[in-house]
């Protein structure tokens, strides 16, 4: 699997795009999706919620387990992906595309976000 170069990554296995008009798109990585197995339910923050980097803002439920969804940056949720709420399998089939989870207007970001190459090395170890 390859992690798109243009994205940045958290150690909690979220990816985010470069901000466009201040808004970044967030999802979970293919590595995380594969580790979870078939995702059957996603609970996302609501539009207007403020999320905090490194803190839980939702959950992803798979056949075998439930995992917290962590916010990679601090900010306000501007949009959630209704398609993935209706069809959580998008997280598995297209984690970097149609399986995106939410958009956030970031006000602060942690200093330890990773580049694609750094994240690839992080998950290889």
């Amino acid at each position: 699997m390859s992690n798109p170069q243009q994205l940045r990554y958290s150690k909690e296995h979220e990816w985010l795009t470069a901000a466009e008009d201040g808004v970044a798109t967030v999802g979970i990585t293919e590595h995380a999706a594969n580790a979870l197995g078939d995702v059957v339910f996603v609970q996302l923050p609501a539009v207007g919620d403020t999320v905090t980097a490194g803190e839980s803002c939702g959950e992803l439920e798979s056949t075998k387990s439930v995992s917290d969804l962590y916010a990679p940056v601090t900010g306000e949720i501007t949009e959630i992906n209704e398609d993935v709420v209706d069809d959580p399998s998008l997280v598995n089939s297209a984690p970097f595309e149609g399986g995106w989870l939410f958009k956030v207007r970031a006000t602060d970001e942690p200093g330890d976000l990773l580049s694609a190459d750094e994240y690839t090395a992080f998950t290889a170890g």
Binding site: N34, G37, D38, V40, F41, Q43, E61, T63, K64, V66, S89, N92
Partner: protein
């Protein structure tokens, strides 16, 4: 001897094959086993509609032989093992003197004085120790055959056709819960019509050195009808839909077979005394008159998944506990098995929910199983 990896996990004879297939592996009772190869949901659906191939070599085989093999097993287990015909199998249990369940088992009668006892991987040593201890005074030998067998299962509606292409054995004459020695894909095998999926299917006990050859032959024979390799993840959702108990979840030493709704496996009418008889007779009376909790099925109205250990609630009170839960591919909704207070055990009981991380999600009480195949 079976091999182990660097983490000390035991590896089956098919280990290299699983890795070549890209399996996600998991530690199951000290064995490194395939959890899934791709999508566990797709594997589940394949077994329900076509066929799936499983490596179950972690299961614990114990051979009991000798003139008093039947008498020993009738004493050590709760079932009537002497009444099992040669070539037939029986689902049974081994209990402690206090009636607590040590394990659930399948016992195959291979010959008049030879039985194959198949225990859960997690309990195989316990069962072996108990059988040896209980064999004192019987003219019978208890042999640890865990390393003598690999176990491959082919399950699903297409499985008879797949197997027929690889054996001359009389599969049509092989009934559910029967087993016969034969040759499959050129290797000697005990061919058993048993499984843990709720589908028609077969379990093939072979020597470990023959496992790769058999697996590959089944893969090739099954490819045209959509057979796929399947991991333990879908095995769990398949057995849950079929309402089959899993040791450590629905069964434990804290429960008797009667508490688990499986009192029918205890045969008081058999000859001779057996371990647990007195306690089990009391448990039977208690279950009849005043059952504490009853095993029921629960179907979610929402999409959040109940897990083992979650509380079942009604009227703001805890009235039970989930023992197994998963999203059901067949029903399209989360399902669970749970022990609940008798007052809430009737199908359709209103106001029952599961506490999922603090939120009481509504659940419908339903009879088990959730799924029964059309014959």
């Amino acid at each position: 001897m079976s091999s182990t990896d660097s983490a000390g996990l035991r590896l089956t004879a098919l280990d290299a094959l699983h890795r070549a297939l890209g399996a996600t592996m998991t530690d199951f009772a000290g064995w490194d086993m395939p959890l899934r190869y791709g999508s566990e949901r797709d594997e589940h659906v394949a077994v329900r509609t076509r066929a799936g191939l499983f490596d179950l070599s972690h299961m614990g085989e114990i051979t009991v032989t000798g003139p008093q093999a039947a008498e020993l097993l009738d004493h050590a287990l709760v079932g009537n093992i002497a009444s099992v015909g040669v070539g037939r199998a029986r689902y049974t249990m081994i209990c402690r003197a206090d009636g607590g369940i040590l394990d659930d088992l399948i016992v195959y009668r291979l010959a008049g004085t030879e039985y194959l006892v198949v225990a859960n991987a997690s309990n195989a040593q316990v069962v072996l120790d108990a059988l040896r201890e209980r064999s004192a005074g019987f003219d019978a030998e208890v042999r640890d055959d865990r390393d003598a067998y690999a176990l491959i299962a082919v399950q699903g509606p297409e499985s008879p056709g797949i197997l027929k292409a690889l054996t001359d054995a009389d599969l049509d004459g092989l009934k559910y819960y029967a087993g016969l020695p034969g040759t499959v894909a050129g290797v000697p095998a005990l061919i058993a019509r048993t499984g843990y999926t709720g589908e028609d299917g077969f379990e093939l006990f072979v020597k470990p050195e023959h496992a790769v050859r058999l697996w590959q032959a089944l893969t090739e024979a099954g490819a045209p009808v959509g057979l796929v390799p399947c991991g333990l993840s879908c095995r769990d959702t398949l057995r849950l839909e079929a309402g089959m108990p899993l040791y450590g979840h629905e069964l434990s030493t804290e429960l008797t077979p009667f508490d688990a709704g499986l009192g029918r496996v205890v045969k008081f009418e058999k000859e001779g005394d057996f371990v647990g008889r007195e306690a089990l007779a009391e448990a039977a009376a208690r279950a009849e008159q005043n059952p504490p909790r009853v095993l029921v099925g629960l179907v979610a109205e929402g999409r959040r998944v109940p897990r083992a250990g979650f509380a079942v609630v009604a009227d703001g009170e805890v009235i039970g506990e989930v023992t197994s839960g998963a999203p059901s591919p067949t029903l399209g909704r989360p399902i669970a098995m749970a022990y609940v207070d008798t007052a809430y055990s009737a199908p359709g009981t209103a106001g029952v929910g599961v506490d999922i991380r603090g939120s009481h999600e509504p659940y419908e009480v339903v009879p088990l199983p959730f799924y029964k195949r059309q014959k």
